[in-house]
């Protein structure tokens, strides 16, 4: 809840991903409830027949088919032309969206740092499984980190403004890019969540899994934004990150007569902390989270609320696996 005092920002990859965790994450893969088509032949089974070593079926030859796929053995026996169909293994697009608003720079442990680590972990899992990984930072004002593009099949691109995206990363060697990008993000300004989501929805490519890391404390409302992100071949995960102080303010040492100032827009609220007010705050928070959850469930979005003091390994290795994001 409160702005984190003297937060130690990550400076290296090790600050985001500990080696021991990396070793354990390497055994995981991103899971989707669907098999998605991708632009690259990856390690993922696709419904689309294509070029692969795994035979799927035969179909009669028609004019125009690639002659290289004709099964000449069948032609020899049946004297008819059949094409051999193979299951095409495609890559998965993993898109991690990180909320970079100022409200994320709060709590103990810091929510934004938590999101940085979680995003790094998820991106690492995507990279080692040869998925197409994209990272987006949304915020009112995003300073574009300097990332070298051109690696891999398609060059990465970084945009600025409401959304900054690092996309089309593939393979373990792009981990440095990921880490540099994440380290370079700064939680400044507001969210403009809807606009940012709209921009992401318009610019994203392919199909895959999209994970939104945010506290979803959006005064303009999160509904429109999430509605834009859902669909279009993306399996959407909304991970709501809240600090322990937001969930239980009394443990954060809050009390007395206060003028609460919003970190994003400077809005103030004068409160006298009393037991009834705290009770009411918790009820309001629960209602807010429940409403978000219901909204997500109704739209086939997987929603989960995590506290920023949850260990990353527990979250990734346990919670996310149970929720079907990882396998």
């Amino acid at each position: 809840m409160l702005r984190s005092p003297n937060i130690k920002r990550p400076e290296r990859l090790d600050d985001l991903l500990e080696p021991a965790l990396m070793a354990r994450l390497g055994q995981l893969d991103v899971s989707s409830r669907k098999i998605f088509a991708g632009k690259l032949r990856g390690e993922r089974r696709s419904k689309k027949r294509g070029q692969s070593v795994e035979f799927a079926d035969h179909r009669p030859y028609v004019v125009g088919d690639d002659l290289r796929h004709i099964d000449w053995n069948i032609y020899g026996r049946l004297d008819r032309l059949f094409l051999k169909l193979f299951l095409e293994e495609e890559d998965l697009s993993l898109h991690v969206v990180v909320d970079c608003s100022t409200s994320m720079d709060a709590g103990e442990p810091n929510k934004f740092l938590f999101c940085q680590r979680l995003a790094a972990s998820l991106a690492y899992i995507g990279l080692v499984n040869l998925n197409r990984v994209a990272l987006s930072a949304i915020g009112e004002r995003i300073d574009t980190p300097s990332v070298e593009g051109g690696a891999g099949a398609e060059p990465t691109s970084v945009s600025s403004g409401l959304v900054s995206t690092l996309r089309d990363l593939r393979g373990r060697r792009r981990l440095d890019d990921i880490s540099r990008y994440l380290i370079g993000l700064q939680p400044i300004g507001g969210t403009r969540f809807t606009d940012a989501c709209k921009k992401i929805a318009l610019t994203r490519r392919g199909k895959g899994v999209m994970i939104v890391l945010s506290d979803f404390m959006v005064k303009e409302g999160y509904e429109t934004g999430l509605r834009l992100l859902v669909g279009h071949g993306y399996d959407l995960f909304a991970i709501q990150v809240l600090s322990p102080q937001e969930m239980e303010p009394e443990k954060g040492g809050i009390g007395g007569d206060l003028r609460l100032r919003d970190m994003e827009d400077g809005d103030t609220a004068e409160v006298t902390i009393t037991a009834p007010l705290l009770k009411r705050y918790k009820q309001t928070l629960n209602a807010y989270c429940n409403r978000l959850h219901e909204f997500c469930v109704q739209r086939d979005i997987v929603h989960m609320t995590v506290k920023s003091d949850t260990p990353i390994d527990t979250l990734v290795l346990d919670y996310l696996r149970r929720r079907g994001l990882l396998k």
Binding site: L2, M217, G256, D257, L258, D262, P276, Y281
Partner: protein, 712 residues
């Protein structure tokens, strides 16, 4: 409730209240705190306010409590006082008058047009009600102070009685007060005051000063109408406080019987005159119907006008006795008349008066009288022959004058046949009587010369010890130096002219039942011996050895002594007792199953003494009290169903009690106490300590509310 310093409190309130409100509404200095979002907080505040319609009030509860504290403090500054019936001393003595005048029905003045069924309250009821208010006002033991106020209850009329000693138990006090019954006895304060004085605290004797009270005094609450003729005899203790709670009104109109008496003509006992004295406190003359009822039948009715009461000064101008100084007193108007009737037989006469105007005290509107039958005494002269004595009785109309020998009398005495004579005259003779320790058998009792049981006149003999008369031998020549002229036997005896040639010197031991009626220069000359069984007038010397018998006073002495000893009033007055006194009479020796029936038909068994005397009392109500017994009665007694009956009339007949105007003040020996009416009965108690305590309590409440509010 009144305020001692309201202006000071008003100024303080004008300054402090606005200051508090301004201070309260000054902007609260809040601590700035950055949070991730105010979204939820604002919503929570909105929800909280939406769910608490009295949220604003709740927000201002602290202001409300602070205003309350300020109000209590400001009120304390104004020094409020309220009227209370309690007093300063921790010990209260509630003295309630239940004398006859307290039966007056002006305890509660009925408003004009009051419904006829509303019964007027007597002064005693009003006094009891006031006393209960006093009890209610007593401070009870508190949590921090276990010393509650104590009170005691004394009720008085002619006598005084402690109904409840000092206690802080209000229920005991209430029970004692509620148990007080009205009486028709006169009211005298002195005994009640002596009782109260005994309880008002310790007194120590200091040289040259006398008894000095030690420690805190008591508060005496006198609940009375002030009709207390002996109030001037009582003294208020130095440390005591006296409050006179007056009940009744000063101008209560009452016509009452203040005297009733019957007399038979000396020469014609069958002629009876009944005298009735009346008194009125009404401001106008009152026409009164006086009805004479004998044995239940109305015999005569007379219309009598009783004069109006006059102011004391006017009465003094006309030469009437204004009575004691009692403030705004009026002197009652007087009236009276005589019923002459011819009636030889006895009976019970009732005199009832009735007026057309309201009368405040009904109990003095009726008088009772027991008329004994016209009778003559039977006297026995025990002598070997004494002309002097015989001739003395010759002029009296006696029913019998028998001369019997001493031996015969001794035999009659031994046989118990002495009841046929009213009085024995023992001429130089004393019979052998039994003396012995109590409980000793008859056989062991020694027989010595002594006074016989009953009534007797002893001439020329000295009763031996243990009666208390010591024979000191003969003496020559004596003259009377002093004698009691108020004694019925000696009133007309002219002893101052008597010279005794041969005197018998005797002396009287103190603390014996012997009273000296006349003294000579050589010692006691006439004695009266009165103990449980004996009533005797003793002349130790022989009257024949003096010149008394030559004087008519001798005859008058003998007649007076016999009449006095016969206890019958010679058939004129009958037995009468005044409420508040003890009823005493004497039944014949040997009477059995002696009972007394009160006017309300309650029966009491009485145990006669050796001489047949019985006592009951004090009697408290007017009416006829009847003593009855199995056995022969005297000539004055009635015999009904084989039982002798002796009615005794109890009459208030007290001019002071019938003068029922409530006194406006009480003049004690050392103080003058003004009456406190209903409106003035309460005393002022200071409230500010309680207000400060209340303020402290509210501050504690405010602290609790504040902590509860800010606690997480």
């Amino acid at each position: 409730m009144t305020f001692a310093t309201p202006i000071l409190a008003g100024i303080a309130a004008a300054v402090a209240v606005p200051a508090l409100i301004i201070l309260y509404f000054l902007k609260l200095r809040r601590r700035d705190l950055e949070v991730s979002t105010t979204l939820l907080w604002k919503k929570a505040i909105q929800d909280l306010q939406a769910n608490a319609p009295f949220q604003k009030l709740r927000n201002n509860i602290l202001l409300f409590l602070q205003l309350l504290v300020l109000a209590a403090a400001l009120l304390a500054l104004a020094q409020p006082e309220y009227r209370d019936t309690g007093l300063t001393n921790a010990r209260h003595i509630i003295v309630i008058d239940n004398s006859a005048s307290m039966n007056a029905t002006d305890g509660r003045v009925l408003p004009p047009g009051a419904p006829p069924e509303s019964t007027p309250t007597t002064r005693l009821d009003a006094a009891k009600q006031r006393a209960l208010q006093l009890v209610d006002a007593l401070k009870e033991p508190g949590v921090f102070d276990n010393r509650g106020e104590e009170a005691m209850v004394i009720v008085f009329n002619t006598t005084a009685q402690v109904l409840q000693t000092f206690t802080s138990s209000k229920s005991d006090l209430r029970n004692a007060i509620n148990g007080i019954q009205p009486t028709d006895a006169p009211g005298y304060l002195e005994r009640a005051w002596a009782l109260a004085d005994a309880y008002t605290g310790k007194k120590v004797f200091q040289e040259d000063v006398g008894f000095v009270p030690v420690g805190p005094g008591a508060t005496v609450h006198l609940l009375s109408d002030g009709r207390l003729p002996d109030a001037g005899k009582v003294q208020r203790g130095e440390t005591d406080a006296v409050f006179f709670h007056r009940v009744g009104t000063p101008d209560a109109a009452n016509v009452g019987i203040t005297g009733i008496r019957a007399e038979r003509a000396f020469d014609n006992p069958a002629r009876l005159s009944i005298f009735v004295g009346l008194q009125s406190t009404a401001r106008q003359p009152r026409s009164v119907d006086v009805e004479l009822i004998i044995d239940g039948a109305t015999t005569n009715v007379r219309d009598v006008v009783v004069g109006a009461a006059k102011p004391k000064d006017a009465a003094a101008l006309e030469g009437e006795d204004p009575g004691e100084d009692s403030g705004d007193r009026w002197v009652p108007g007087l009236g009276g008349f005589v019923f002459p009737i011819d009636r030889a037989e006895g009976g019970i006469a009732t005199v009832r008066i009735s007026t057309r105007e309201p009368d405040a005290l009904p109990s003095d509107n009726i008088g009772y009288l027991v008329i004994p039958p016209a009778k003559r005494l039977a006297v026995a002269l025990v002598s070997e022959g004494n002309l002097l004595v015989q001739s003395a009785f010759r002029g009296m109309k006696l029913s019998a004058l028998d001369v019997i020998k001493p031996a015969q009398f001794q035999q009659m005495l031994d046989d118990g046949r002495t009841s046929q004579y009213d009085v024995f005259v023992l001429d130089r003779f004393l019979p052998q009587v039994r003396v012995g320790s109590v409980g000793a058998g008859e056989a062991s009792a020694a027989r010595v010369p002594g006074l016989p049981p009953g009534r007797s006149v002893v001439l020329g003999a000295v009763p031996p010890p243990p009666l208390g008369v010591v024979d000191e031998g003969p003496a020559e020549g004596a003259v009377f130096a002093d004698f009691r002229r108020d004694h019925p036997a000696l009133a007309l005896s002219a002893l101052d002219k008597v010279t005794i040639s041969k005197f018998r010197r005797v002396s009287v031991r103190p603390d014996t039942p012997v009273r000296v009626l006349a003294s000579t220069d050589k010692g006691p000359g006439v004695l009266e011996v009165s103990d449980a069984s004996v009533l005797s007038i003793v002349i130790p010397w022989d009257p024949a050895d003096s010149d008394w018998w030559l004087d008519p006073g001798w005859v008058l002495f003998m007649a007076g002594a016999v009449l006095y000893l016969s206890d019958s009033g010679a058939g004129t007055g009958g037995d009468m007792v005044r409420p508040g006194d003890t009823l005493r009479t004497r039944v014949p020796i040997g009477s059995r199953d002696v009972r007394l029936t009160t006017p309300d038909n309650a029966r009491h068994n009485l145990e006669p003494a050796g001489d047949g005397s019985v006592a009951f009392g004090p009697v408290l109500r007017n009416g006829i009290y009847t003593v009855s017994w199995d056995g022969p009665g005297t000539a004055a007694d009635f015999v009904v169903d084989g039982r002798a009956r002796r009615p005794v009339a109890a009459n208030l007949a007290d001019p002071n009690e019938s003068d029922i105007g409530a006194a406006s003040r009480l003049d004690l020996a050392n103080d003058r106490v003004s009456a406190r009416g209903d409106e003035d009965a309460a005393l002022r108690r200071k409230v500010w300590p309680y207000l400060l305590l209340a303020a402290l309590a509210v501050i504690m409440l405010e602290w609790w509310v504040y902590n509860r509010k800010v606690a997480i």
